[in-house]
Symmetry: C2
Subunit: 180 residues, 2 copies
């Protein structure tokens, strides 16, 4: 759960980070920045801010904003009604983001799962993305990501987005926010 | 036709414009900036520079760079082998771009077809895009675009891209460059 005041504050911080990254959004997009709190009540640690530019039946593009060390929790995009799960390309635009995928665990990682939630972070192969670097996640594969100390702005290019179908490793997580 | 030296020069100018727009690309992407000269031998007037970030069977994302008043000529993305033509969203990131689509011709337009090629520009309804503004082109519909005086950097989010299938109104145009 998150309050309207917390949402507004997170939207303002995300808008400032976009401006810092040289990315212009419209006043309407600014008012509609999505604040994904994931139901854990710890937005600073586990959360994500999003500007959805376009989401059609053919493709999707978003800007993702992460505060300093903020984490988007581990999840996958499953096949739904015979349609293959979402495939997505993350391109770092500003700051630094660490992406975790299946593979040999990276021995010395830059990031780490949020304290208290370690059990729900099972893929630990680290991909470090600096501005201009990108990585593509195949459908239905586990992944999570965390920003570096400055935070991060990341462009996401993908097949159509159906957030409500995402499967999170942590059963406490609610993708669709409950604003009180 | 275009010489290697002209390609290199256009790549350098495009890279400078991306830097000015605050958009970081990798050294490899910089070396591979595509210079579309369209076969008319007038790159300054009729041409386009592109960085293709990702082009899969499910989606595509590119950065388009246009020099001052440079024009991407009128074309459409047809149905090919039963697959619907490319659908694309143009989002202006820097500078200004004028997009022309079917509809009532705009009485006082900001841009104009390149001199000598007016006959091959048949859709004249103008959409003006400033940074942060975007417009989505349906499949198989004619469109062309031109940058303002400063030039433009435009993100293109789309369904998969098959440039070789594009249909240009001007029969002289060759989409795939011939470098001499």
């Amino acid at each position: 759960m998150i309050t309207r005041s917390q949402v507004r504050s997170a939207q303002e911080r995300a808008a400032q980070m976009l401006a810092q990254a040289g990315i212009t959004i419209t006043p309407e997009e600014c008012q509609n920045i999505e604040v994904a709190e994931f139901g854990l009540g710890e937005l600073e640690k586990t959360g994500l801010e999003l500007v959805v530019y376009i989401n059609t039946e053919r493709y999707c593009a978003k800007e993702l904003i992460l505060f300093s060390r903020q984490t988007c929790p581990e999840h996958r995009h499953p096949t739904v009604a015979g349609s293959p799960g979402k495939m997505e390309t993350f391109r770092c635009r500003w700051g630094q983001v660490w992406l975790y995928v299946a593979g040999d665990p990276t021995p010395v990682k830059q990031g780490c799962p949020p304290a208290g939630s370690e059990a729900f972070y099972t893929v630990l192969h680290e991909i470090r993305l600096n501005p201009g670097e990108q990585y593509t996640i195949p459908p239905d594969t586990l992944h999570w990501f965390q920003a570096g100390n400055l935070g991060a702005v990341v462009s996401e290019f993908s097949s159509p987005s159906h957030d409500e179908s995402d499967v999170f490793t942590d059963p406490r997580i609610r993708r669709i926010p409950e604003i009180i």
